[in-house]
Subunit: 558 residues, 2 copies
C-alpha cells in the first residue's frame, strides 16, 4: 500500500482521495490535492491576501505540510487560470521541488512564468488547451474552456480508477463574452452523460441571486462616460483583467483618445496579453504616460492600477497629489472594478480625495462599470442540471458561500448526504460513486512577511495586534548579582503609548522600591525581578490610564 498523506487515514488502492489545502472557508489560496495509487495531482496553488487582523503580513500560503514528504509523488500542478489566488503560491511550492511540471493554458503559463522569473525559477511546463486530453500516471485529464474575468481559463475533468471529478476552477457563463470563448456547457453535458462522480464548483457568487451581467455591456458605458469627459480620463481596474482593458482601449479609440498604461503589473500583464494576441491593441493608441502630458487633456486616458485603494498604487498616489499626473477639476476617474470586502475604507478614502480635488468619480456604485467574474446562483443551477453530478463539493468561498452553493445543488435534486461541506484539510475519499469525509488534517497559516516564509506565527500577530492597539512600555534595569541593588536604570521607554516619556516620572520610584524590596527578600533571579517590574508598571498604567500596553521588562543581573 502506498505511503498515505501525512496524518491522513490509510488510502486503499483504487480509491481517489481529495484534500483541499486552501480556498475553503476563505476567498483565496485555492489549492486541491488529488491522490490515487501513491501519486498526487494538484489543482491550483494560490495565495490569500491578509485581513486587518493579520497586520504586516504580505501573503498567506496554503500549508504544504501534508505533501512535504510526498513531493516526488507529485505528477503535476494544473493551473486553471492566471489569477494570484490560483497561481501566487507556485513559486513557494517550486522552492521545495523546482521540477514539478506546471500544466495550464498559454496565457496562464505566460503569467506564472513571468512571476517565476522574478523568483529566478525556470519551470517545467506543459501547455494545454480546451478539448485536450493528457494522461499523468493514474490521472486522465481533460480540459474544458470556461469563461472568467481573465482569458484562457480552464476547467479540468480528472478521470481515475476511483471515479471522475469535474473541477470548474473559477468561472461564469457569460453567453456573449468579448473573445467568444464561452464556458463549454456541451462538454459539461457530455461529461455529465458519461458520469461525474464528484463536481467541485466555484462558490464565490453562490449567494448572489440571478445571473452575472455581460462584460460586453460595460463597453457602452465606458464609451459614453469617456465621450462626456471634458478633460482627462483615468480608469482604474485589475491589472490582469485583459477584457476590461480591451474595452477601455476600444472606448478610448472610439473617442479619439490615446491610452497610457500605468502601474508595473498593468504594464507587464498587458504586454504579455498583447504579445500573445489576447489583447488587441488599436494601432498607435498606446503612449508613454510621460509623453501623454503633452497631449490636450481631452485626448488622453490613463489606465491604472489601485482600484482597491492600495496606498502605494497609482490611483491612491494621484488622490494624494503624490504622482506626476496631478488630478484636478474636470478630470474623470472611473473605477472599473469590484469593491473587495475589507477595502471599503481605503477605496472611499481615495474616492473622497479625488472628489476633493475636483474630479468626477464614476464607480460601480453609480454606474455599470463592473461585472463579476463568477457564476451567480442562476448560472450554478444550470451547471447542476446539465452535469447532474453524483456528489458535489462546493469550493472557493467562505462558509456562507459554500453553504449557499450546497443549497443550490440540493435544490436541483442532489441528495444532501451527497453534498460535502468541507474545510481546508478535510480528507474526502471517492470510490464506487460515493464521496465521503474520512478525516480532517489540522492545517496552519503560512505567512509571508518580507523575505521570510512561515517565520511569523499567530503569536507574533497577536503581539502585533496588542502593539497596534496599545503600544508598548519597555523597562530596562541592571541589578548587582551580589546585593541585588539596582546599578543601572530603571530606564523606561514607550512607543504608541504617550507623546513623551515624562509620564513615567511617577512610576520609576515605585519600580525602584519594589526591586529593592525583592532584593532584600533575597531575589537574585532576573525572571523574578522582571515579574516584579511587570506587576508594578501594569498596575500603574491600568490605574493611571485605564490602558493595557505591552510591558517589556528587561532585567539583567550583572
Amino acid at each position: 500500500m502506498p505511503h498515505a498523506i501525512e496524518d491522513a487515514p490509510a488510502l486503499e488502492s483504487g480509491t481517489l482521495r481529495i484534500l483541499p489545502l486552501g480556498g475553503l472557508g476563505e476567498i483565496g489560496r485555492n489549492m486541491a490535492v488529488f491522490e490515487i495509487d501513491g501519486k498526487l495531482l494538484i489543482v491550483d496553488c494560490g495565495v490569500l491576501f491578509p485581513e486587518e487582523h493579520q497586520p504586516g503580513v504580505d501573503l498567506i500560503l496554503p500549508d504544504f505540510s501534508p505533501i512535504r514528504e510526498r513531493l516526488d509523488d507529485i505528477l503535476g500542478v494544473v493551473l486553471t487560470h492566471g489569477h494570484e489566488d490560483h497561481i501566487g503560491a507556485v513559486p513557494y511550492l517550486l522552492r521545495l521541488r523546482n521540477d514539478i511540471p506546471l500544466i495550464g493554458s498559454t496565457l496562464t503559463l505566460a503569467l506564472i512564468e513571468a512571476k517565476l522569473k522574478e523568483h529566478r525559477i525556470q519551470p517545467y511546463t506543459l501547455t494545454v488547451a480546451e478539448g485536450q486530453h493528457e494522461k499523468l500516471g493514474p490521472f486522465d485529464l481533460e480540459f474544458v474552456a470556461v469563461n472568467h474575468s481573465i482569458p484562457d481559463a480552464l476547467a479540468v475533468a480528472i478521470r481515475t480508477a476511483g471515479g471522475t471529478v469535474l473541477h470548474t476552477g473559477d468561472f461564469k457563463m457569460d453567453q456573449l463574452p468579448l473573445d467568444g470563448r464561452i464556458t463549454d456547457l456541451r462538454a459539461f453535458a457530455r461529461l455529465g452523460e458519461a458520469g461525474i462522480d464528484l463536481f467541485m464548483t466555484d462558490s464565490t457568487n453562490a449567494d448572489v441571486p440571478g445571473f452575472t451581467p455581460r462584460e460586453r455591456d460595460i463597453g457602452a458605458v465606458l464609451e459614453s462616460v469617456i465621450a462626456k469627459a471634458p478633460r482627462r480620463v483615468i480608469v482604474a481596474s485589475f491589472s490582469s483583467h485583459v477584457h476590461r482593458v480591451q474595452q477601455v482601449l476600444d472606448a478610448a479609440a472610439a473617442n479619439g483618445r490615446k491610452v497610457a498604461l500605468m502601474g508595473r503589473s498593468m504594464v507587464r500583464n498587458m504586454g504579455i496579453a498583447a504579445e500573445l494576441g489576447y489583447l488587441k491593441v488599436p494601432e498607435g493608441i498606446l503612449i508613454d504616460y510621460k509623453k501623454a502630458a503633452n497631449l490636450p487633456d481631452d485626448q488622453i486616458v490613463y489606465m491604472s492600477t489601485g482600484s482597491q485603494g492600495e496606498p502605494m498604487a497609482v490611483l491612491a498616489r494621484m488622490a494624494n497629489l503624490d504622482h506626476q499626473v496631478e488630478v484636478g477639476k474636470g478630470d474623470t476617474v472611473i473605477l472599473a472594478s469590484s469593491l473587495i470586502p475589507g477595502n471599503e475604507n481605503a477605496v472611499y478614502r481615495v474616492i473622497n480625495g479625488l472628489i476633493a480635488l475636483g474630479a468626477t468619480v464614476v464607480h460601480k456604485g453609480n454606474a455599470k462599470v463592473h461585472v463579476s467574474g463568477h457564476a451567480a446562483a442562476g448560472e450554478l443551477l444550470y451547471c447542476y442540471n446539465i452535469v447532474r453530478p453524483k456528489n458535489v463539493m462546493p469550493v472557493h468561498g467562505e462558509a456562507r458561500h459554500l453553504y449557499a452553493n450546497q443549497q443550490l445543488a440540493i435544490e436541483t435534486g442532489v441528495a444532501e448526504d451527497r453534498t460535502i461541506l468541507a474545510e481546508n484539510g478535510t480528507v474526502v475519499d471517492l470510490r464506487d460513486g460515493v464521496a465521503r469525509i474520512v478525516g480532517q488534517l489540522d492545517l496552519g497559516e503560512v505567512y509571508v512577511d518580507g523575505s521570510t516564509v512561515g517565520q511569523i506565527t499567530d503569536a507574533d500577530l497577536k503581539d502585533r495586534r496588542i502593539l497596534a492597539e496599545e503600544g508598548f512600555i519597555s523597562i530596562f534595569v541592571a541589578v548587582d548579582a551580589q546585593t541585588g541593588r539596582v546599578v543601572v536604570g530603571p530606564e523606561l521607554h514607550a512607543r504608541g503609548f504617550a507623546p513623551d516619556d515624562s509620564v513615567f516620572d511617577t512610576v520609576i520610584p515605585q519600580i525602584e522600591k519594589a526591586l529593592t524590596e525583592a532584593a532584600e527578600n533575597g531575589t537574585r533571579d532576573s525572571h523574578v525581578f522582571s515579574q516584579v517590574v511587570r506587576r508594578v508598571v501594569g498596575r500603574w498604567v491600568n490605574t493611571q490610564h485605564r490602558r493595557r500596553p505591552m510591558i517589556v521588562p528587561v532585567v539583567i543581573v550583572a
Copy 2:
C-alpha cells in the same frame, strides 16, 4: 466688538458665523458652532468612531480648541437626536464647563442623561418639542419634527439678526412611520416662505438614488421569517433603534414567542424608551434571557447587539460559542441592521461562524430586514424645492456625500456660488442673505484612549501602525563613561518580529564591534551610541529579512 472665535477673522456685529467642528468630511462627531454678537450656540456634539488606521483609539472627539476660551459665551447645546455621533462628545464638553444647558427632546435628553450619569455629571437641561420656540439671547430657535432611525428627532430653525438657518439634523421622509411622526414638511414650507438664508442638510445618503424604503415594510419580513423559524430566533440590531425593536417585539408576539433583550446598551436604552412610552411592550412578552433557556426553542426570540461584528458584543460571542446561548442547527439569526463601511470583514466573520454552527442567517443582503435612517437623493430634492433656501451648506458626510448633496441643491436651482462645500474648521459668515467662506481653522483629531483624552497623538498612531506592520526590536546596552566600553548587554528583545530571539545571534557581535569602534573614536554620548546601534541593526534586519521593524536602542552611559 466681541472677542471672536480664536484664529478666526474678526466678526462684525449683526453677522452670523457658522463654524463646523465635526461631521464634514466624515460620518460622525457632528458639531456646529453658531456665533453672533459675542454669543455662541452649538448644534450637536457627537463622537466619531476610529478607522483601521487609528488602532487602539476608542473614540474621536471634535476639536474644541476654537471655543475653549469662549465657554462662558455658550448659551446652550441643541441635541437634534440621541445617536452617539450627535451626543457622544457632550460629556467631554461638559468637563470643560458642566453647566452648559442641553436642549433637546424628551428621549434625546433621557439618553444623554443616562450617559452623563456614567460620567457622574448632572446636566442642566431644557426639554423642547416640535413646534416650540425658545429664545436664547440673540438666537431665536424653533424646533421642527423630523423622522429618523431613532424617535423624537428634531430639526432646528435658528433666527438671528444675521439671517435664518434651518439645520435638519439627521432625517429622512418616511411618509408612514411607525409612530406617525413624519418630517414636518408643512413647517419646512412655512419657514421657506418666511425665508431660509442658509439650509444645513444631512448628506449621508445624498449619493443614494431614489427614496429610502419604509421602516414599516420590515415588520412583515420579520414576522414571516420568525413564523418559518423552526427553533430559536436571534435578532441583532442597533441598541437605540426603538422602532426596529418595536417591530421585533410585535413580530414575536404575532408568533407567540417571548423576547429576551441582550446587551447592556440594548437593555438600558429600551428600558428608557419603554418607560417614556416610545417603545410599546406587549404585555408579558419580555423575559430574562437566563429564564428564556427553559422555554421551548420555538417560543423565544433573543434581541441582541453586535450587528456590526463587534468582537465583544453578544452576537460575535455567540458565533464563537463564547456565550450562554449556544447557537446550533435550526436556529435563525437575523441581522436587522446596516453594514457600516469598514465593518464588512468583522460582520462576515460573524455570519460565517453562525453558518458553520448550522444557523440560518438572514441579513440585508438576502432579505428586506433593514432600511436606512437618512434621506436619499429623491427626498432631498423635495426638501430643496419646498424650502427654496438662499444658501445651502451640506453637512454630515464624507466629501463624496457633501458633493452629491451640493449637486442636488444646484439641480433644484440653487446657484453654485450659493452652495458651500465646507470642511471641519471652515468659517462661514452669513449676512444680508449671503453666506460666504471667510476663513479656515486648522483643527486636529482628539483621540480618546482608555481614560486619556487628547494624550495620544497622530505620531503615536503612526508608531502603532509601524508596530502593527513590523513589530519592534529593542536593544539595551550600558557603556562605561570613562572607557566607552560595553559593561552590560547588548540585550536584544523583539515582539511581533520573530518567534524567538535566537535570530539575533548573528547581529550581536556586529553591535559590539561597532560600539567598540565608536568608543575608540572617542564617542561618549549615548545618543551617538544609539545611532550606531540603530544603523547596525537596521542594516542587518533589512538584508537578512527584508523587513523594517521599529528599532528601539537604549544606550546608557554609566
